[in-house]
């Protein structure tokens, strides 16, 4: 079962990468772009067939390693759940 963990910098944490992407989009002529935030997506192939348990284990992984909760928030999506 596949779980997808999306990790984003928390609101209020400066995201210079997102800012730079926003500037580059403006340079390319894309008008009307507000704030841009960049994060990461981590896909996990889990040997778990119960969606609730898969979500629980992915959340634990996110808390312990995949996200640094001092600066980042995360959300977990489980395939078919």
């Amino acid at each position: 079962m596949k779980a997808t963990v999306t990790v984003m910098l928390k609101p209020g944490v400066l995201d210079p990468q997102g800012k730079a992407i926003g500037h580059a989009l403006a340079t390319l002529g894309f008008a009307g772009v507000g704030e841009v935030r960049a994060g990461k997506v981590i896909e996990l192939e889990l040997k778990e067939s119960d969606p609730a348990r898969a979500r629980a284990v992915a959340e634990e992984m996110a808390r312990k390693l995949l996200a640094n909760t001092v600066i980042e928030s995360f959300r977990v999506a489980v395939e078919g759940a």
């Binding site: 944490v13 400066l14 210079p16 990468q17 730079a20 390693l65 640094n68 001092v70 600066i71």
Partner: protein
């Protein structure tokens, strides 16, 4: 003080650190591999700079989970001394031994330049050979040195006197222009509450000999050697 340098794959500043420690103490530090767990007999553990595990996921995130870090945590809990420089500081925050995190430099660029650090307190084992308020020069070389913590944590660090060094002008003024990586409140280094764990981004070990361009960093290692 018997010192050990903790090595993770991708660390590259261990030799400079070893020179600084040996030159000031007369003893070569023990090199500790990241798989080791027996650190008995060591008083000071140094986590040097570099790019442990290629900075994968987040700087220091992988190293913080390695077997040796359990032993480093135990050592710190027993009141042992720990010094983390650059990537070593990042590892200490990722391991929860120091609060906050090191974000990408505010200007997005890797900074390789000298900075000046103001000594916020001199009554610690690390800073005992400096004067409070003194300024010393230290090279910095990092892409992710922008110290971040929430306001509550920053206030606590200030209230408890746990800010070790701040980025300052050569005259000792803590101003935004001296803060090239954008760190919160110009913070370059912090202590744990027992003042025995220090993390900082700049490299005092890179200025311990006139041939390196100066000896500004030497007092830190002399103080450790004498402790």
């Amino acid at each position: 003080m018997k010192a050990g340098i903790v090595l993770f794959p991708g660390i590259n500043r261990e030799r400079d650190m070893a020179i600084a420690l040996e030159r000031t103490s007369g003893h070569a530090p023990r090199m500790v591999w990241h798989t080791e767990t027996d650190l008995a007999g060591l008083d000071l553990l140094v986590l040097p700079g570099g790019f442990s595990y290629g900075d994968y996921l987040r700087c220091g995130a992988m190293a913080a989970q390695s077997p040796v870090m359990r032993a480093v945590r135990d050592h710190a809990a027993r009141g042992g001394y720990v010094l983390g420089v650059c990537n070593g500081f990042q590892i200490l925050t990722e391991a929860g031994l120091l609060p906050g995190a090191l974000l990408r430099n505010a200007g997005l660029r890797f900074i390789s330049a000298d900075c000046h650090l103001r000594v916020e307190r001199a009554d610690t084992v690390f800073a005992a050979r400096y004067q409070r308020g003194a300024v010393f020069r230290a090279p910095m070389a990092h892409g992710d040195g922008n110290y971040f913590a929430d306001e509550e944590t920053l206030d606590r660090l200030e209230d408890e006197g746990l800010v070790a060094f701040r980025y300052a002008t050569p005259a000792g003024k803590v101003l935004p222009e001296a803060n090239r990586n954008g760190s919160a409140r110009n913070i370059a280094g912090i202590y744990a509450p027992n003042l025995r764990v220090l993390g900082l981004m700049p490299h005092p070990e890179d200025l311990v000999d006139p041939l390196m361009g100066g000896e500004d960093g030497k007092p830190l290692f002399e103080a450790l050697a004498a402790a």
